[in-house]
């Protein structure tokens, strides 16, 4: 059972919802409240009714009684008149006439003499007067055909010797008028009964009197005899008369008012009967009947109306709550969705941040620091840098727009930059390939301002290409902008020509690259940070600051300027400090070789002797040997066509910290460093034959740099001599 109730509860909660449950509970409470109110009002009304009925009962009983009393008074007043004229039988007619004339409610009167009281008048003598339309007629009624001695009223008066009222009876042709007769035994001088005087009292007013002032259309009054017989008020139509008579008969003590509930078995109507009896003889009973339906009809109607209103109110409430709950649920769902997107954006942000280059291993000639803060979770700015063959490849870019679309383009450009620059060291060529890729399927017309540079760390030779990006600052003694032709940004036209520009950095120099998030940073007054402010901050930087400190100084300046304003764009900085290392040369030696790999043994011998003179241990010496052999063998293979002889000049110099090997030849232009990286994860069967040598050289030397100088290919390879590389 409990299980079922629980099940029903769960069902209601799930299918109909808590809001409906709440409304149902409220409905039950309000219903209970309205019922209590109804019940209370009903008992108040019943008390009120009882009081009114008691009052009406006593009024009606009093009216009846006073009507009877006036007839009794009339009789008393004429007793003397009758007794005085007893000796004159003929005057009895005028006595009767006077008797009924005295009281307008009396419609008839008679004097029924004892048989043979007046011998001359025969055995039965009964003078009788009656009113008809205000005219009094007198006649003698007694006779053989009218033996009044058999009349119950006559006999009762004779027996008791006391006056008395008959039960009301119907009279006349219409059978609706009731009369009651007051019988009075008239005594002569010897105190013997001479005649029984009767007065007929008209009760036709009684019906109206009984029904007056009851207040309800179905309510009615009743007059009953002591035996419970209904005489007035009963017209046979009123339902339940018999029941009421049975209930009431003989019950009340005179003057008391009682109440009994009843239910009509035919109409099933419930009601109350209030009754009392006359305080004196003839002790008739007066009863007033009311039906609950009529009495309580107004409050029942009110109750129904109030329930209807409550129901309407609750329905409206239900709809309001339901709408509220629904919108709250929607809001919650939106919040969950937002949180999900937020967490995905957070992940996207960390992925984007992971794409940025890691700090390089510390080295004396280069200090580089990048800094990127997206305006939103993810941004369209990018920077990258990496070392390859003794060259620093770097770039900075800004994808138009902000947020996710820009971030996706940004990540595409960044990974392409890495892939292309693995085998292209000309920044203009890199930018050109990037532009072709950016134009491909660029339906949204997104463009990218981009700056790419390649810095030869051993020579200080900087090559760069600018695709519509803000020109970087070059700090060397003074603060100035790098001279850079503004080409079109990436993604505009696929065939845009990009040209390379060059600058020699002969001494220490700092390249400061930035995106417009710096110069267009906006303060709360909507002023821009501008190039001027940036230049001022850069000029104020002290000498010898690390790249990180420089970047932080600038970003702090921008942050202070922006203050409480929202960041308007991604903010990106890239600081490259180049410090060329020049030391005193302590070794210079060279060897000339024929263009023949069999001379490699001589080369190896030469390199081993250089390494040994520099005090290098076995392992770094072998690594240097391998790197040089691979490069030289490569040159021997490719610089001269088969069959042609050529010379290869190998020169070694050292300042004690590093060894620089320069390989020069006069063959056709050939850059071994442009060979793509080999895939060293392939299986034996899939391995290509070539490429391994350059791969090894790249990884074993600290830098490899190719230049075509005049008619010569010049390859410069450097190898640092670290402390633990020495014997």
């Amino acid at each position: 059972m409990v299980k079922w109730i629980n099940k029903a509860g769960t069902f209601l909660r799930e299918k109909i919802g808590t809001s409906l449950g709440f409304v149902i509970l409220a409905a039950l409470l309000l219903e209970l409240l309205s019922f209590v109110q109804f019940y209370h009002t009903r008992s108040l009304l019943r008390d009120e009714l009882q009081k009114r009925m008691e009052k009406e009962l006593s009024v009606k009983a009093g009216v009846i009684r006073s009507s009877l009393a006036s007839a009794e008074m009339t009789m008393q007043e004429h007793l003397w008149d009758m007794q005085v004229h007893l000796s004159q039988p003929d005057s009895m007619f005028s006595v009767t006439r006077r008797l009924i004339a005295a009281n307008p409610e009396i419609v008839g009167g008679c004097m029924a003499f004892l048989p043979d009281y007046y011998p001359q008048k025969g055995r039965f003598f009964e003078p009788y007067a009656s009113k008809e339309n205000g005219v009094i007629r007198v006649q003698q009624l007694g006779g053989q055909e009218h033996d009044y001695t058999e009349h119950p009223a006559f006999r009762e008066a004779m027996q008791t010797g006391q006056p008395g009222w008959s039960d009301p009876y119907l009279y006349g042709t219409d059978s609706v008028s009731h009369l009651t007769t007051y019988s009075y035994p008239l005594r002569d001088g010897e105190d013997k009964i001479a005649a029984v005087c009767g007065l007929d009292l008209d009760l036709s007013w009684l019906r109206d009197t009984l029904n007056a002032n009851l207040g309800y259309p179905s309510s009615f009054g009743l007059l009953m005899t002591r035996s419970g017989e209904t005489v007035i008020g009963s017209d046979g139509e009123k339902p339940g008369i018999r029941i009421i008579s049975a209930l009431v008969s003989g019950r009340p003590a005179p003057g008391q008012c009682l109440m009994t509930r009843f239910r009509d078995p035919q109409t099933r109507r419930k009601g109350s009967v209030y009754y009392t009896s006359l305080s004196e003889a003839p002790y008739w009973q007066v009863a007033l009947v009311s039906y609950d339906r009529e009495v309580f009809e107004p409050i029942v109607r009110m109750w129904r109306l109030s329930r209807l209103l409550i129901l309407c109110g609750l329905l409206i409430l239900f709809f309001i709550i339901n709408r509220y709950v629904r919108s709250a649920r929607r809001l919650q769902q939106a919040r969950i969705e937002q949180a999900r997107i937020g967490s995905e954006l957070g992940i996207a942000r960390s992925i984007q941040m992971e794409m940025l280059p890691k700090p390089l291993a510390e080295r004396p000639d280069l200090d580089i620091h990048g800094f990127l803060v997206p305006a939103r979770e993810v941004g369209g700015d990018l920077y990258d840098f990496f070392l390859q063959d003794g060259k620093l490849f770097f770039c900075i870019g800004d994808v138009s727009g902000k947020g996710v679309p820009s971030a996706m383009v940004m990540s595409k450009i960044q990974s392409l930059f890495r892939r292309i620059s693995a085998h292209v060291s000309d920044p203009a060529r890199i930018v050109q390939v990037l532009n072709e890729e950016a134009c491909r399927g660029n339906e949204r017309n997104m463009f990218i301002t981009f700056f790419a540079g390649v810095l030869n760390l051993s020579s200080g030779h900087l090559q760069y290409c600018n695709a519509g990006h803000d020109r970087p600052f070059l700090l060397r003694g003074k603060t100035e902008k790098l001279q850079a032709r503004p080409h079109l940004p990436l993604g505009v036209f696929p065939d845009t020509p990009y040209g390379v520009q060059e600058v020699e950095l002969s001494g220490p120099a700092t390249l400061f690259l930035y995106t417009d998030g710096v110069t267009e940073a906006m303060n709360p007054r909507r002023e821009l940070f501008t190039d001027g402010r940036l230049a001022a901050v850069l000029e104020g930087l002290g000498d010898g600051l690390a790249a990180r400190e420089m970047a932080e100084t600038v970003s702090d300046a921008v942050r202070n300027f922006v203050g409480d304003a929202d960041p308007s764009d991604d903010l990106t900085l890239l600081v490259i400090r180049y410090i060329p290392q020049e030391g005193a040369e302590i070794l210079r030696d060279s060897i000339d070789l024929d263009n023949d790999v069999r001379q490699v043994s001589a080369l190896n011998h030469f390199i081993r002797s250089v390494a040994s003179r520099m005090g290098m241990a076995e392992k770094p010496a072998r690594n240097l040997q391998l790197a040089v052999e691979e490069i030289v063998v490569n040159v021997m293979h490719y610089a001269n066509p088969p069959g042609e002889t050529g010379r290869v000049h190998v020169e070694a110099t050292s300042d004690g910290r590093m060894v620089r090997i320069t390989v020069s030849d006069e063959g056709v232009a050939f850059d071994p460093t442009a060979v793509a990286e080999v895939d060293i994860t392939r299986s034996a069967e899939d391995r290509p034959v070539g490429g391994l040598g350059v791969h090894l050289a790249r990884h074993l030397a600290d830098s490899i740099h190719y230049e075509r100088v005049g008619e010569q290919n010049v390859l410069t390879l450097t190898k640092m001599i670290h402390k633990n590389d020495r014997i």
């Binding site: 690594n623 391994l692 791969h695 090894l696």
Partner: protein, 100 residues
Amino acid sequence: MKITVQETDRQILAKLVGEFDTAAAQEMEKAMQPLYACEGRDIVMDCSQLEYIASSGLRVLLGILKNAKSCGSKVVLKDVNDVIRDVLELTGFVSLFEFA
């Protein structure tokens, strides 16, 4: 560089001595011929006295390995020194050969 080959029914043992540079790689082609006739026998290369190897030397080893694999033989490099092991790692050759 020198190479000595000892053949038994079950394996071919080749002892490499000296520097396996580009010049050596060219010269050794003939001396290496017995290693191409493995016929299901495993090839064990004793590298305990091999001091140095260049990419051309690696290419010779790769040729031997491809041939050995095609006839179901294994190639085992024995007692490789640190310098050579670094080169093998840099080129990904460590995953191709077996070591003992």
